[in-house]
Symmetry: C2
Subunit: 187 residues, 2 copies
Amino acid sequence: MSSITPRETAPPHRAGPETSAVPTRWLDDEQQNAWRANAAIMIRLPAALDARMQTEAGLTYFEYMVLSSLSEAEDHTMRMSALAARTSSSLPRLLQVAGRLEKRGLLQRSRVPGSGRRTNATLTDAGYAKVVEAAPRHVVAVREYFIDVLEPGDLAALGRIGAAVGVAIDQNTPGLGAADPPAPASD
Amino acid sequence: MSSITPRETAPPHRAGPETSAVPTRWLDDEQQNAWRANAAIMIRLPAALDARMQTEAGLTYFEYMVLSSLSEAEDHTMRMSALAARTSSSLPRLLQVAGRLEKRGLLQRSRVPGSGRRTNATLTDAGYAKVVEAAPRHVVAVREYFIDVLEPGDLAALGRIGAAVGVAIDQNTPGLGAADPPAPASD
DNA sequence: ATCGACTTGTTCACGCGTTAAGTACGAGGT
DNA sequence: ACCTCGTACTTAACGCGTGAACAAGTCGAT
């Protein structure tokens, strides 16, 4: 069942416009299986985590990442651009979310006087309390959906795979804004 | 570097509101590493694939999934709801995209006379040609970003993991609309 | 034959993320 | 002193996805 491309019909396409010389290395069954499994994770896991955070803590998964990142930082404070990088988001996206969180009193922005146009975001007490409340539930969800269903070796494999995929994307994708070198994904 | 929750500060939260009795099993370093790696994949891989399909074939990744699914079906035809299930999307989302694709002449809709309000979507010749053109490029991208960076054992591990995570999500998430039993992720 | 319940597809209003333009600040040159 | 350039943040316009009504059929019961 399933194939990454039209299957019986795949060989018949003997030519993409310019790929005529290169035969196209279609995926074999095991590869297709791995890819489909991964695709399913990519689609469903974020949705599931989002739903949980939403109902259990009234936060988007992304909002949680923002607050959580701040809670880990010195003085619960980070520059906007650094926060954006850490949460793998664009600046405008972060700005919008930060605005919302600020209205809800979970976060506060303040310009850094001496240095250009820099702005700091700081967690308020209410914001920190929110993180403290949400964090354990988040861990529970991550365990249920992910960590606790893995077998021993899988943990290490995942780490390797993630790193390798990250590098591959950096190398082969011109327009992808990874701001900082080590690459953040946060959580 | 990094933690899924405030770290030095994590132990101090000895109580989430109701979790007071349950100590919260925080993630150890290897678990955090695996989770962060996976989170990075979830965020960046779809974006990267989307960008590629967009520039190389003028299709969204999702649009490609729709067309590709049709190309695999009997007579290049599927019912709308079946298509939605196969592409892991909501019906409204599929409808909108189908409308767009129809305007572009890649797809055609037609009511099934005898049976309720059912509608079939059929790939046009142009639509099939589009799939034929896009498929090889898609495989190349999937290989670059994913398949070809894996080590031998990883393929099997991924398959296992994907299945396990899928089951976990199905079990622990009330409101997730997986329409069909086997669960589609398609591509 | 008619009514009601169910299924399936469609439309609409809203919110979020993205891209592109705009604004404020400091630094370095002339 | 001024001008310009680069950086960092902000705002605005647009498109897409989601969820909630809505419409159009069919089937079964009375």
